[in-house]
Symmetry: C2
Subunit: 223 residues, 2 copies
């Protein structure tokens, strides 16, 4: 169908899959012109994300963490097998709760994308996940937080940053309200855009940094 030059995207999920839905919607509306979500892998057979994939005719696979636990190496090997077998070009962590070992990261250098719900290098690294991030943000008294999409490497939240977007902290925020606003930006704005940039070959990695080519993200999206 003329899609032979499209990049194959795999989305790794564990739960409801709102990140996945945003990516599906973006693909449908033409926002990821050179990419196709061709595989959804869930670590949980009951994840609603699988239903979303099914409803959109996307191939699914289950690598059930509960069946491998605690053997992270074999679990990672199974994920890697699925990714290679399906000729995946880009792997997106979308609410995927299991940490994969280095074999997967090394097989997809600068081709695995994760979202962190804060402005890296603030409020990231070991122990900063989920509501813990937003609790720490509120306790610190900062007035701005945000979301970061970055490549995955061996360092937790340490890979080259692709995109960031700020979110204001309001006087009456709770960890939950802040999480909601940050997630909206991460899911609706940053993740589909990062996928599009990757599939269009517009992300150049130079050392620990990315250069977004021929695309002035900042001037277009902010303000």
């Amino acid at each position: 169908m003329g899609h032979s030059d499209n990049k194959n995207i795999a989305v790794l999920v564990s739960g409801g899959g709102t990140n996945l839905q945003a990516l599906i919607d973006a693909e449908k509306s033409g926002e990821i012109p050179n990419g196709r979500i061709s595989l959804v892998i869930s670590s949980n057979p009951d994840a609603y994300a699988l239903t979303r994939a099914f409803n959109n005719n996307i191939k699914t696979a289950v690598a059930q963490w509960a069946a491998f636990k605690p053997d992270r190496k074999s679990f990672s090997g199974e994920i890697l097998r699925l990714l290679l077998e399906n000729h995946i070009d880009l792997v997106i962590y979308a609410g995927f709760m299991i940490i994969l070992d280095e074999s997967v990261v090394k097989a997809f250098p600068n081709a695995m994308i994760n979202v962190h719900p804060a402005l890296i290098p603030a409020f990231c690294g070991e122990g900063f996940y989920g509501l813990r991030v937003h609790r720490a943000v509120l306790e610190s008294g900062v007035k701005l937080t945000g979301a970061t999409v970055h490549f995955v490497n061996e360092i937790c939240d340490g890979g080259p940053i692709i995109l960031q977007k700020s979110v204001e902290v309001l006087n009456d925020d709770t960890p939950q309200t802040l999480q909601k606003r940050v997630s909206e930006q991460a899911e609706q704005v940053l993740l589909p855009k990062a996928a599009a940039l990757f599939c269009e070959g517009r992300i150049e990695v130079v050392g620990t940094k990315t250069i977004i080519k021929e695309y002035d993200y900042d001037r277009i999206k902010t303000r």
Copy 2:
């Protein structure tokens, strides 16, 4: 003249005084309705900031660091004497290069304001000043940086945050171009606004945080 309830603002300078000029302009245009810049103190007798103050009929004082160096305690005592003698309510560090000792900080709890040219808690603390901040930002590969106005306490860049504003990092930025854009936001937007909020009694400090009262900074200023 009906200004008896105005807060007296002292601006501490060491050099050209572009921060001071922004504050003078803001006061003139009515953006700091309950505040008056009543004293400019320079650590350097040749600072152009003093000329700016003179041109605007603002009282000046020189506490020449070179004459006290390295006696930080006596120098701080002289600054404190000037602040108290002039009934100062709010002290603004505006490109003031000398670190004052705790006696001054303790005499003005949550009444001294400083600007840091990054989004605290990122790229702040010991050693992060001037172009070093922007060099570190560029080396890290972040896509957003910004400016922070905060109260001064005993911890370097550690006092309660009043306002923050993000600035995009562009592909072709140098430390100098980035510094210029961050400084513009810090000087033109954040510092006058923080002074206005303080003088209007709209900044409530609760523990290590501020609550900006009856003023939805975030919703008004961003986007």
